[in-house]
């Protein structure tokens, strides 16, 4: 067998072209007169169709691009390891790798990151979440809210029911209810500190007191499950992971990595909402209240926001509205109604 190669002596960069005649026992002779056996060579691994380097014990080296012959000789003389090259060149292994990688990537984004975020969120000291809450509330007061116009007796009434609900929780959040005038926005939300804000407009929309309690229970659920912190963590981890996986952290990749984040976000928030709904249903039923009232309020909210079939885009423009962060409203109403039926 003849192998075409370049010979380099290892002392200088001098290149000698040679054709090696390799015998049945693996013996071959170099142009410099030295004789070696194939078994003495250290053969570099095959990668794509890159050149192969055959290192000789005396520090000289052969370079050849005849990959197939090198592989054949290695097999013949029981040498070298081409397992990786087989993985990298057979279609079925490549396809299996694509599927496995895609599944792992999907699993990590859909489940791995949320699990990690959940652990981190629960490990965060209360001081951090407290500060986050205080700052957010004073910021929102400045730009969005006015003092509540709700009369004092109604406030005390709702507050006492809220406190009763809050005291049933076993976590060490300090729950606090804030009434605000939302300037036309029917809204309620929870801050990670346990501060819960409800607007006069939402209370006015509710036809039954249980609906308001249902909303508050839902918000307490968000706090108990640490949804906001988890969401902040998830949103900040994903672009990092994408940058890491796609390799070079060029400016454009970093900037545009936000795109897939948006796509996944809807999935995350849907999960959180149904978790909080489940929590609310449990709390309401445990206190002998009817979840159907919350369902009714939800459909009213929908009517309030889509009075004559406004578009999705317009709905999204009122960022932060209690409704817009709650996808799949019809589905949620259905579940709340069903839970009512099951209690009877």
């Amino acid at each position: 067998m003849q192998l075409e190669a370049f010979l380099y002596n290892g002392q200088t960069s001098k290149r000698t072209r040679c054709v090696l005649e390799i015998g049945m026992d693996g013996r071959f002779q170099l142009p410099n007169g030295l004789s070696w056996k194939w078994q003495q060579l250290k053969v570099s691994q095959r990668i794509g169709h890159s050149a192969r380097f055959l290192d000789l014990p005396d520090g000289s080296c052969l370079e050849t691009s005849d990959n197939d012959l090198v592989d054949q000789l290695c097999t013949q003389f029981g040498q070298g390891d081409d397992k990786l090259h087989i993985l990298e060149s057979r279609t079925r292994y490549v396809l299996a790798s694509i599927i496995l990688t895609a599944l792992a990537g999907w699993w990590f984004i859909a489940s791995g990151i949320p699990v990690i975020a959940n652990h981190v969120a629960h490990a965060l000291p209360a001081g951090v979440t407290q500060e986050l809450g205080d700052e957010t509330l004073s910021f929102l007061d400045e730009i969005l809210f006015h003092e509540s116009q709700l009369d004092a007796s109604q406030q005390t009434d709702i507050r006492s029911q809220f406190q009763a609900l809050a005291s049933q929780q076993h976590s060490d959040f300090r729950y606090k209810l804030h009434f605000r005038d939302g300037g036309g926005m029917a809204n309620a939300f929870a801050l990670p500190s346990g501060d819960i804000v409800i607007t006069d407009q939402l209370i006015a929309l509710a036809e039954h007191p249980d609906a308001v309690i249902g909303v508050l229970a839902h918000e307490i659920g968000h706090v108990e499950y640490r949804h906001i912190i988890r969401r902040i963590l998830q949103d900040s981890v994903l672009p990092l992971v994408i940058t890491a996986v796609t390799g070079d952290a060029t400016v454009a990749t970093t900037v545009l990595a936000g795109l897939p984040t948006l796509m996944v976000e809807a999935h995350y928030s849907r999960e959180f909402e149904s978790e909080a709904d489940q929590f609310a249903i449990q709390q309401l039923q445990a206190n002998g209240r009817n979840p159907a009232h919350l369902a009714a309020l939800l459909s009213q909210l929908e009517a309030h926001i889509h009075p004559d079939g406004e578009t999705e885009a317009e709905e999204k423009s009122s960022i932060g509205s209690w409704f817009s962060s709650h996808p799949g409203t019809e589905e949620r109403i259905r579940i709340l109604r069903e839970s009512e039926a099951s209690t009877r």
Partner: protein
């Protein structure tokens, strides 16, 4: 390694003796192009197997993946029909990676428990950074082989401290005015400490030219800002689109500077009597990088190997060696073996160096 560039004309080619008018006159050089022969389809298979095995082994295989990726890119790059070779072994990389991981974790744990320790640790890191950079360069140069001759790197701690810690700090205090000077100093350090065998790379880089690159980059940025401000005034309804269009322009300026710096550095470099030519162009390169990014996003990352190949092909295609005589005269240096620790620390902190 002392006599490397004093005797080029004589040994290179006996036939050609035009270089008699003085040190400036160059011997006849013939252009030899760098060639990159990798293909996207072929590398995709290697890349996906690497990624899959890395996931299955919870990251351990990443050391093998790194070696195979480098071997692919080095092995498919050739000059005058001889290929480059990456000789580091996965175990070296793995060892370095584990140490780097341990250091990183220790840092995180310590700063979690004693937040006040962050500042002294950062100072410690700043002190270690030049060492990490040099170790990383020594390792990657040593493990690059061409015609059975290893590359090498001679840079020392003191110069690295100056170029990568002290001067950048001063440049920040100067509000960036000194930054081109620092960039020049860094490039100069990188080239002038590199060697092939015992032949040293030389580059005379002028600070003035670095300033002219950065100033024109600044002008480019300024003019796009003015255009967008005007567009904003005359077409306010397009305002939400402005940031979307602005980003590629920032990117353009960023690439413009790196392209010009690469060209300048390579064009001023010599290795013995051989010179180099780099012809990267901003717009085609930005075009490649932006379409790469777009493709990577649209394919959820699966176009990454194709993007890497395209970039490597363009860069190699723009690089030429101007060879005086032939490439047979380089002599191997005496050297000790290297460990991967420095390079892997460098990688964890996301530092990439290359000439």
């Amino acid at each position: 390694m002392s006599d490397s560039h004093s005797e080029p004309a004589g040994v290179g080619s006996a036939a050609d003796t035009t270089a008699t008018t003085g040190p400036k006159a160059s011997p006849a050089r013939r252009p030899v192009d760098f060639e990159f022969r990798g293909s996207g389809g072929e590398f995709f298979k290697i890349w996906i197997v690497n990624l899959c095995l890395t996931i299955l082994t919870l990251g351990i295989y990443s050391a093998w993946a790194k070696v195979r990726t480098n071997q692919y890119f080095y092995g498919h790059t050739s000059l005058n029909n001889s290929s480059f070779e990456y000789t580091a072994t996965p175990m070296q990389i793995l060892k370095g990676r584990l140490i780097a991981f341990a250091v990183f974790t220790a840092y995180n744990v310590v700063t979690q428990i004693y937040p006040l320790a962050a500042l002294p640790l950062m100072l410690l890191f700043a002190g270690a950074l030049p060492w990490i950079i040099t170790r990383s360069l020594i390792f990657s140069h040593y493990n690059t082989r061409y015609r059975n001759i290893r590359f090498g790197f001679n840079g020392g701690y003191r110069d690295a401290l100056m170029a990568f810690v002290v001067l950048p700090a001063v440049a920040i205090l100067s509000l960036g005015i000194l930054f081109p000077m620092v960039a020049c100093r860094q490039q100069s350090w990188l080239v002038n400490n590199a060697r092939f065998g015992n032949t040293e790379f030389k580059a005379k880089l002028s600070v003035g030219e670095f300033y002219s690159i950065y100033v024109s980059g600044l002008f480019l940025l300024g003019s796009t800002l003015i255009i967008f401000t005007l567009a904003h005034m005359f077409a306010p309804h397009l305002a939400p689109l402005v940031p979307l269009v602005m980003l590629p322009f920032y990117y353009l300026v960023f690439i413009y500077i790196s392209v010009k710096v690469t060209n300048l550095t390579l064009n001023s470099s010599s290795l013995g009597s051989h010179h180099f030519e780099s012809r990267l162009q901003t717009l085609p390169y930005v075009g490649i990088l932006l379409t790469n990014t777009l493709a990577i996003i649209l394919t959820l990352g699966f176009a990454t190997p194709w993007a890497m190949i395209r970039t490597a092909r363009y860069r190699a295609g723009c690089t030429t060696a101007l060879v005086a005589g032939d490439l047979n005269q380089f002599v191997q240096a005496q050297q000790e073996t290297q460990n991967a620790f420095g390079e892997e620390l460098g990688e964890v902190f996301d530092l990439e160096f290359g000439v």
